[in-house]
């Protein structure tokens, strides 16, 4: 398989090939196990990609089944139906903007998860407030002065900054590329992140140079202080060492693409051996109130350019990660402070809206879509917004529990309130689940097994929210068998396999206190 592109693979073969590595369809697959182990020991990385300005979700992930209504509501910006890049396994109901061919290829190859309709109750339409909400992880009427990842890092690296860096964690807890340390990394006691103020700043560190200063007395002293500042920044040494021990390999990085330039640095630092679990990068310009497309050709213009940059940067980054052999422990997630209005405005743009899709990337994501296409009514007015399908904090909870494996008892210190029913964005939870031994007290073996038509599963509820997922061998969500608050005690779920092809599957129970997974076989 060629390294420089992600294969578009048909649905039939999707289950057996991920990114060029054939995998067996059996649960005790040694490769999957070793992936789980290596992720455990070498440390998972999350790259948070902030899309500043409010990305137009409806022009990113296009509900093709709503195209007729949309062509009425967004006539001055909507891309032609034929140009939309439909996603496999959606029955051509959903597609990506034509500028996102690289991401579409990644999707079809099983490297992308998209959660639809992410927002929060009573969404705020102000950029600043909405940004603060997403960064701090607050409700719309809640004011937090710490960031959600700052709180996570504070739980995981207790006592920071006292006693850090140390032998166990010699590296920055978070690295942000860009001016001003993002509030997302603010912990209760200290900022948990290190900011590399700009791209030049990084290369200055690597090369042991500082920004040029005028040849004056002031410039002379400035240069001296800059050197001392650079050399005494706690993590200069480890960053320089990491950067020097790995070079970017991918040839796909586009030029003139800020996000790409940032991700290039991230790939190099991860491959260089930094144990840093979190990177924050960003790209601006998504506040497309006017002329978001060319009027003559809606497939090009401001928003198309932004999506293309995003798409090419992410593709190049994961290509690089793969070549650098770190891809299995790297995941990336986009977010934006809000989506945009359903109805476009008279200036050929869109105004501030609410719910929007969140895209996650990487080897470990559950490939596919979570959530449904929004249903857009013919009565939609310029004031209407897309409904929320998932609270963004539930998405964060999945990152914390399934990717960072935060102990569930600590979750309430990070997200308030804690969110139990998290979307299965990451495959990790099921990879771990494969190694779990089902406990009959909690989750019974389904009966009958193998399943030809129907089967029943008993589970024990501790009286809290409970969800029973059906997953395939790659941990992808196939169906949700039960979801809701169940009284304490034993419950039975009837399962009908219709529409599910024969093979090995896992069913997984998650409630507040327990997680349990068992295997079932479906036969024709």
């Amino acid at each position: 398989m060629k390294r420089d592109e992600f294969l578009k693979i048909g649905g039939a073969t999707l289950a057996t090939i991920i990114g060029g590595w054939p995998i067996s369809t059996y649960a005790s697959n040694p490769l999957l196990d070793s992936i789980a182990r290596s992720a455990q020991s070498s440390g998972r990385v999350l790259v948070l990609i902030q899309l500043n300005g409010g990305n137009d979700g409806l022009n990113t992930l296009i509900p093709l089944d709503q195209y007729a209504v949309l062509s009425n509501k967004r006539s001055n910006i909507l891309v032609p139906e034929s140009s939309v890049l439909s996603l496999s396994n959606t029955g051509k109901a959903t597609g990506l903007h034509p500028a996102m061919s690289k991401i579409r290829n990644m999707y079809d190859a099983g490297f992308v998860n998209i959660v639809q309709g992410v927002s929060y109750p009573n969404p705020d339409l102000s950029h600043f407030r909405a940004t603060d909400i997403w960064l701090t992880g607050s409700a719309s009427n809640q004011y937090l002065d710490t960031g959600w990842l700052g709180r996570y890092l504070n739980e995981t690296y207790a006592g920071f900054p006292t006693g850090f860096p140390n032998a166990t964690m010699p590296d920055p807890l978070a690295i942000q590329i860009g001016s001003g340390v993002s509030p997302v990394c603010q912990g209760p006691k200290a900022g948990m992140g290190m900011a590399i103020s700009d791209i030049n700043n990084f290369y200055n560190i690597v090369n042991g140079t500082v920004e040029p200063a005028p040849n004056t007395p002031a410039g002379h002293e400035l240069t001296f202080i800059r050197f001392v500042a650079q050399q005494t920044q706690q993590y200069t040494g480890v960053i320089k060492a990491a950067a020097q021990s790995a070079k970017n390999i991918s040839i796909l990085y586009p030029s003139g693409n800020t996000l790409s330039n940032q991700l290039k640095i991230v790939a190099r630092l991860i491959a260089g051996g930094l144990q840093t679990p979190l990177y924050v990068v960003s790209m601006g310009g998504f506040d497309t109130h006017a002329s978001q497309t060319e009027s003559a050709d809606h497939t090009i213009g401001t928003h198309a350019t932004l999506l293309q940059r995003l798409s090419e940067a992410v593709n190049a980054f994961f290509d690089d990660c793969r070549l650098l052999n770190v891809d299995k422990r790297v995941a990336a997630m986009t977010f934006s402070e809000f989506g945009r209005r359903i109805v476009s405005n008279g200036s050929g743009g869109t105004d501030h809206g609410t719910a929007a899709p969140v895209l996650s990337f990487g080897y470990a994501v559950n490939p596919g879509l979570i959530g449904n296409n929004p249903v857009i009514s013919a009565n939609t007015t310029s004031k209407d917004n897309l409904p929320m399908q998932l609270d963004y904090r539930a998405l964060y909870a999945s990152v914390l529990s399934d990717w960072f494996e935060l102990d569930s008892s600590l979750m309430a210190n990070v997200l308030f309130p804690s969110f139990q029913n998290t979307p299965a964005v990451f495959r990790k939870s099921s990879v771990t689940g494969l190694q779990e031994n089902g406990d009959d007290e909690v989750l019974s073996q389904n009966y009958p097994n193998p399943v030809r038509t129907t089967s029943s599963i008993d589970f024990y509820s501790d009286g809290t929210d409970a969800t029973l997922f059906l997953l395939d061998t790659q941990g992808r969500l196939v169906d949700t068998l039960a979801k809701g608050v169940y009284l304490e005690g034993k419950h039975t779920v009837e399962f009908n396999r219709s529409g599910i092809s024969a093979g090995v599957y896992f069913y997984r129970l998650i409630n507040r206190k327990t997680k349990s997974t068992r295997k079932m076989m479906i036969v024709d």
Binding site: Q50, G180, L222, I225, S282, G285
Partner: protein, 568 residues
């Protein structure tokens, strides 16, 4: 150099800081990047002592304030901007209050009962020594009090000059060993802030703190102690490295002249029995002067003759002018600066019979001082940095706090200065702090692997959870600070305002745009900030306030973390 390096055997200050003393000369980062020689091949100005006639801009006013006070404030800028450059300098000198500040108080009663009868919140400067514990608390009280004078000084140069003289006639509170003496010594420096240099040298020579510090009080006819006699010439007046120099014989002769001085309760007296009866022969450097032995109490007059003799040497005038230049302008004195600035200043000093005021006034009013090439090249002292943070951001210490708690705050800051390598009242030795005299590093001695991170932590903390001292939390209110800007709703004007006040060099447009992106949450529409600002002004709700703070604080942290913030 015969510096005082032997501390009193019972030095209570040695107990304060358990950290081993940081040796910046062993700091690989410092030694790699600091000057190996005085800066060569950098652009220097040829402007002279002629009165500055350039535009009287905010930048010029800020430059003047940065160099002559411990921190700028918007209020002070506005006031000086309304004057001419000359009148602005006059104000900084003439606005010094005629009366000395109220003396330090008993803030220590909760720790040590003052058995000498000094009640809480009253001054101890007239009281008996008491015992070592009481004296130790008074030393701390004195240092905290002194810090408060810088922190709470109104617009004038008094404390900047007191620090200059403190560094010039360096004594150590811990080594002097009597808090009362250190206080009176300090009061002397303050009284002479813009006084007569020659008179000050005479007064310092007889000052009990100096007599104790450099062993003058043990200088007897039988075994003259050369310590003060040497430093009087080497450090306080003529210095070394001149075309011709004083000799060891001159040190010995001067030591004999100075025999017989003893400390009293707050002053000193002359004991003829301890005075050398020899005639004191000086070298050709002093024109072979002989100071004749004078009998009885007239022996004290020999000291007067000695200082008159020393002050006949033009080196005495030149040396103090070089020190003033390094304190106010820049440390590198090349031939051009020597000829066009130092020598004319020394002439001013001599022709004004060693009055300091005309010299400082001439220097500060000059085109040379205001030349843009002399701006931004001064590395802030720890005091400029700490006091400046409080002053510039308008953080004040409530007068409603108890004396005990106010002193705790002052002492906290004084202690932070100590971790930044300037322990007010306790310079490393009689030569003062290296940053003012150590060639070729000079100012760079303030910045090393130990001190720079601690400077950054200080400002970071002031924008974050704040510092806790005296039962109070002190932090910067970024909104209050932003409100000082003429048009805080305009992100460009606001950033220019911040840059002007916080950085000593202008920033590139590119860098300013990048800073603005913090205010705009990485967007390009300026009006988003404007709307957020007016939303808050119209309705200062928690939500609207948070929106401003969560952008202003990271921006100000970014600015104060720039190297330019360490410059003045």
């Amino acid at each position: 150099m015969g510096k005082k390096d032997k501390k009193s055997p019972l030095n209570p200050f040695d107990l304060i800081d358990p950290e081993p003393l940081y040796n910046y000369r062993a700091d690989k980062v410092f030694t790699q990047y600091t000057n190996k020689q005085l800066p060569q091949n950098i652009a220097r100005t040829s402007s002279t002592l002629a009165a500055y006639a350039g535009p009287w801009t905010r930048a010029a006013v800020i430059h003047l304030l940065r160099r002559t006070t411990f921190g700028i404030s918007s209020e002070d800028i506005t006031l000086l901007l309304s004057l001419s450059p000359g009148k602005a300098v006059d104000l900084l000198i003439d606005a010094i209050p005629a009366a000395p500040p109220n003396p330090p108080l008993n803030n220590y009663n909760a720790i040590v009962n003052d058995t000498t009868g000094v009640l809480p919140d009253t001054t101890w400067v007239n009281a008996e020594y008491g015992d070592g514990s009481i004296n130790f608390q008074r030393m701390m009280s004195f240092k905290a009090w002194w810090f408060s004078l810088m922190l709470e000084e109104k617009l004038n140069m008094r404390e900047k000059m007191v620090l200059f003289w403190h560094n010039h006639f360096a004594t150590e509170v811990a080594a002097v060993g009597v808090a009362r003496y250190s206080y009176y010594h300090n009061a002397l420096l303050r009284k002479f802030a813009f006084g007569n240099f020659k008179s000050l040298v005479k007064a310092v020579t007889l000052d009990p703190a100096m007599l104790r510090y450099l062993n003058g009080d043990k200088n007897t006819a039988n075994s003259p102690d050369e310590n003060y006699a040497r430093e009087l010439q080497e450090l306080f007046t003529v210095g070394t490295g001149n075309p011709t120099n004083y000799t060891q014989g001159d040190v010995e002769a001067a030591a004999k002249v100075l025999t017989g001085w003893r400390t009293t309760f707050t002053s000193s007296s002359f004991d003829p029995k301890q005075h050398s009866t020899a005639d004191k022969q000086f070298s050709s450097f002093y024109n072979n002067t002989v100071i004749k032995y004078q009998t009885g109490v007239d022996g004290a007059l020999e000291t007067h003759e000695l200082i008159e003799m020393i002050f006949k040497k033009e080196e005495a005038a030149k040396r103090i002018c070089r020190s003033l230049y390094r304190y106010f302008v820049y440390y590198a004195i090349d031939d051009n600066v020597e000829n066009t600035i130092i020598i004319p200043l020394a002439q001013t000093l001599v022709s004004n019979n060693f009055e300091i005021k005309p010299v400082v006034s001439q220097l500060l009013k000059s085109a040379h001082f205001f030349d843009v090439l002399n701006q931004g090249c001064y590395i802030k002292t720890p005091l400029d940095f700490l006091v400046g943070t409080f002053k510039t951001f308008g953080v004040s210490i409530q007068t409603t706090l108890s004396v005990e708690n106010r002193y705790k705050v002052f002492n906290y800051l004084r202690g932070y200065g100590q971790t930044l390598a300037l322990d007010l009242g306790d310079p490393p030795n009689v030569a003062g702090w290296p940053a003012f005299h150590q060639t070729p590093e000079f100012y760079q001695a303030w910045i090393n692997s130990n001190t720079l991170p601690k400077r950054l932590i200080f400002t970071d903390t002031m924008f974050g959870n704040g510092i806790n001292a005296g039962g109070t939390t002190f932090k910067i209110d970024a909104i209050v600070f932003a409100k000082q800007c003429s048009k805080p709703e305009d992100p460009n004007i606001l950033i220019d305002f911040f840059v002007e006040l916080l950085l000593a060099l202008p920033l590139s447009t590119e860098k300013k745009t990048s800073l603005k992106s913090i205010l705009l949450s990485n967007q390009a529409t300026d009006s988003y900030w404007t709307i957020a600002w007016f939303d808050y002004i119209g309705s200062p709700s928690v939500s609207n306030e948070n929106i401003l703070r969560s952008r202003l604080n990271p921006l100000l942290i970014e600015l104060t973390r720039l190297a330019e913030h360490q410059l003045a």
